[in-house]
């Protein structure tokens, strides 16, 4: 079977990734599905305190870290577009343009940008720190935190201020509730990404 397609050159888009186009499409779709499932799962207790966390932002950040800026952005954008089109893939099995009037609008719109930034920073870290140990993964964790606080939280706060007509202090207070969970999720995403990069070294071979 494989002999029928001998040495087929990898089809790439703009040469931006080493992955062939069909694999890019598959990876984008499957990771969008992963985010959808993570958003639908009930919260899971974590750590000694047993504080339940939802896995949606974990999946978004992990997608950026693992797939890089370009494919990570596209996978999260696909999830967002499918949800806005009406598929009930947002948390609480909701979906459709109506969520733009709700409290999570800013967070959802921030997700593709956050994944792109986490992916771009992770690519830089992977490139510059090859062969180093723990410090490298601390930098990947930091990449995810930078992405969270550049896009997710400011846009989440902005979304609540517009959609719910909140003042900035109340919106900030509502957003800060998510900060501890966010740190945990980024630690978790980094830990899972470490293992994935070991199991699939090809994932780290990307232009962005």
């Amino acid at each position: 079977m494989s002999s029928s397609v001998p040495a087929q050159p990898h089809r790439t888009v703009h040469g931006a990734s080493a992955l062939p186009v069909p694999t890019q499409v598959a990876v984008t779709g499957v990771f969008a599905a992963l985010i959808a499932v993570a958003a639908m799962l009930p919260p899971i207790p974590v750590g000694g305190f047993g504080v339940p966390i939802t896995l949606q932002t974990f999946a978004v950040m992990l997608t950026g870290i693992v797939l890089g800026a370009r494919l990570g952005f596209l996978a999260v954008l696909l999830y967002l577009v499918a949800g806005l089109a009406g598929l009930p893939v947002f948390s609480g099995f909701s979906g459709g343009l109506g969520v733009l009037a709700g409290p999570s609008a800013g967070y959802l719109l921030a997700f593709p940008l956050a994944a792109a930034l986490a992916g771009a920073l992770t690519t830089l870290v992977l490139r510059r720190t090859a062969g180093r140990g723990f410090g490298r993964w601390a930098l990947v964790f930091l990449s995810a935190m930078v992405a969270s606080f550049t896009f997710v939280h400011p846009m989440g706060i902005g979304g609540m201020m517009i959609a719910l007509e909140l003042d900035v202090i109340t919106a900030l207070g509502a957003d800060m509730v998510f900060w501890p969970g966010d740190v945990l999720k980024n630690v978790l995403a980094t830990a899972v990404a470490v293992t994935l990069f070991r199991a699939f070294p090809g994932l780290a071979q990307r232009r962005w």
Binding site: V5, V27, G29, A33, I44, S94, E165, D167
Partner: protein, 230 residues
Amino acid sequence: MTTFARLFDHRPGSSPVHRAPLGLKYLVVLAVTVLVVSWRAPLVALAALAVVVVLHGAAGLIGEFLAPLRRLWPLLLVVGLARWISEVWVRPAGQAAGPDVGAAVLNAGVVVVGVYAALTAARLLLLTTPGPDLLDGMERFFGLFRPLGVHPQAAALAVNVMVRSIPWVGTAVEETSEALAARGVRRTPQRLMLPVLVATVGYARATGEALAARGLPDEPEHRHQEDTAP
């Protein structure tokens, strides 16, 4: 599995709402959403809600209008409380007069009613549109972005992969969860997600190979030649 299989919650029917063009349905949902966010008035929120109720009635799905409340009431409660706190405790800090509690409750109600109208309008679109129509609509939507370098067939294919993969990933999560329970190990996010992610990346690779074997997606060059052929 059962949870993730019911992605398209289509209720077949032949009402005017069912038969309306998909673009029109999206315009109505968008109009309701934009209206309730941009124009905060009790009459506007109630009018938007009334329109959505009438559309549910016209679709023969009036029973579905209140169904999301079972799931959404905590969210709506939090939304209303946040709005109320914003008005009563934070905003009047610099004002001489005390907070008008009645007006604060009314304004919180306007926001809650608006959010519910927008969410149920969006849900009605899902209920009255067959899944394949929804996917076709998305492909046409992607076509609008062809000048920006979007490859509509590849994007539509990615949507199909996503829709088909959701039950697969959901099953992987459930199986891992059951395996942890069988070993008597406490379910933590890392113990749950690591095996799921390894399986998911492998599944994505296999899916990519399956697409390549079918010659999918069509190469942009070929499509371009077909488009420009007389």
